[in-house]
Symmetry: C2
Subunit: 228 residues, 2 copies
DNA sequence: CTATCATTGTGAATGATTTCACAAGGTGTC
DNA sequence: GACACCTTGTGAAATCATTCACAATGATAG
């Protein structure tokens, strides 16, 4: 069932079909995720309404940007007043698909993997790690939190059996493409990659990279070109 | 000494002063970092020349984009032939400021910190972690690789004494802003932040965020809006 | 030495994103 | 209920980034 077939499910007035087919930029989605976090903070402090300006200040952007981002999905505010915090919160959760939990697998039970498995912010946001895989015979069978590390050879059947939706890749760079190919073949269509390689995925599979070396090099460039 | 005062130090012909003052987009810098990695791979395989098209294929972008990115800094290719791999490699290292090592401190000796401290790709790229700080009395004094974990209260003097240039923030979200304020006061002007908060830094301080929840939520959005 | 070929470097065109600016709509006051 | 005041939602304008397209240039073969 596609969202296009549910006019009005997400937003209030706009032509929903267009809304959803208009492609939303990655940076807009990043900002929405940030707004959500800021709204949750405001909400937990008991704040009831917030203006685009206040939200923008906290997010480090402009009021116009906030309003434009939100207007991609509907009109959620009250003129003269701002936005109802808890209501906007809920709208953004809906937009981002966070009113449900997601089944996640972790491939690579190494150093990064061990940090991720206990990362509370994943679980509280509805990302549930439901399988962990590794090739190392010393690791397979060990318990990691609620999970037992499974052998890499079981990956295909377990991913399909558990209907895993998102895979987190935390294996060495030279193993990453092979893992991704198998993961995709098992029906996973979203991947968060920590290995420093540019992975190839078929159309229809979403890929995000977390590349710490690229970030550090960006800082080095900034320091170098400022030359303080 | 500013780079502006060294015309020709980096590139070959272009008006260097303009080049450096023209601000380079963050995405261009990210791509340069990626090109560098790909060139190193090609180089270690013995490849001697590479065309913008081949580099683009490997980087997942277009040949025009590669040429435009490089042309921001000079002309490094040979028409009809392409780029000399080892030469372009060296040019990009120079552009990004990687022909030297960088003094890095890690604040927060927790799960993420322990992964980072052993991350070989940092060290091989010239990012040397020269101090680690934590507040936890059980951790302070412990040895972590080549480093002894120092008490957070020593941070100011150690950062200044070792002339640390880049700080990696791996403390809980609610401690992060306080740490950043102190780190900046000690002369650090580049920060890599892993805490899920929007940090405030004075102008002149570079900040990059690695925000895994934002990335996961981006994947959730993609899955939700595709609705497969 | 000339012709052919490949590939760069770069203005100009296009496309995407952000910012501006203001009419529209809502609240609160007297 | 009229007036003053805020803040949204959104076209239009401005800015920024990418792609196109081709003249310029060097390599190579004959
Ligand atoms: N350690 C860090 O701080 C850090 C930071 C950024 C990126 N990364 C990247 O993340 C990845 C993992 O890094 P790490 O430090 O955790 O390494 P690690 O060596 O500690 O862990 C890698 C794990 O992957 C397992 N593995 C290898 N091939 C596999 C396969 N085909 N299927 C399943 N498991 C397999 C290994 O047995 C090992 O347990 C690397 O690509 C690294 O470059 C690490
Ligand atoms: N674990 C993960 O996979 C993961 C992933 C993404 C982001 N993060 C973020 O990274 C940060 C650290 O996460 P973690 O899992 O390593 O947490 P952790 O609790 O394992 O480690 C945090 C460390 O910071 C120390 N600390 C607290 N206050 C400090 C201060 N003022 N100065 C110095 N040290 C201080 C604590 O003693 C602790 O050792 C958090 O903000 C977390 O949200 C973690």
């Amino acid at each position: 069932m596609s969202l296009q077939s549910l006019p009005g499910a997400v937003a209030k007035k706009e032509p929903v079909a267009e809304m959803r087919s208009a492609k939303i930029s990655e940076s807009a989605v990043r900002r929405l995720s940030l707004y959500l976090r800021l709204l949750q903070e405001a909400d937990s402090l008991g704040q009831e309404t917030i203006s685009s300006e206040e939200l923008a200040d906290r997010a480090g952007t402009t009021a116009a940007q906030v309003r434009k981002d939100l207007s991609l999905f509907g009109s959620f505010g009250k003129r003269g007043l701002g936005y109802a915090v808890s209501e906007l919160l809920q709208e953004i959760r809906e937009i981002l698909g966070l009113n449900r939990s997601w089944r996640v697998a972790l491939v690579g039970a190494g150093k990064i993997g061990s940090a991720l498995i206990t990362y509370r912010n994943f679980r509280t946001r509805g990302f549930h790690i439901e399988a962990v895989f590794d090739t190392d015979p010393d690791k397979v069978g060990k318990r990691w939190g609620t999970q037992t590390i499974l052998d890499d050879t079981e990956m295909g059947s377990v991913l399909a059996g558990k209907r895993i939706e998102i895979a987190v890749i935390a294996v060495p760079a030279d193993a990453a493409q092979g893992v991704v190919d198998r993961v995709v073949a098992s029906g996973v269509s979203a991947i968060l990659n920590f290995a420093p390689v540019r992975l190839r995925v078929p159309k229809g599979v979403s890929l995000r990279n977390v590349d710490m070396v690229v970030e550090m090099e960006g800082l080095a460039f900034a320091l170098t070109s400022t030359e303080r």
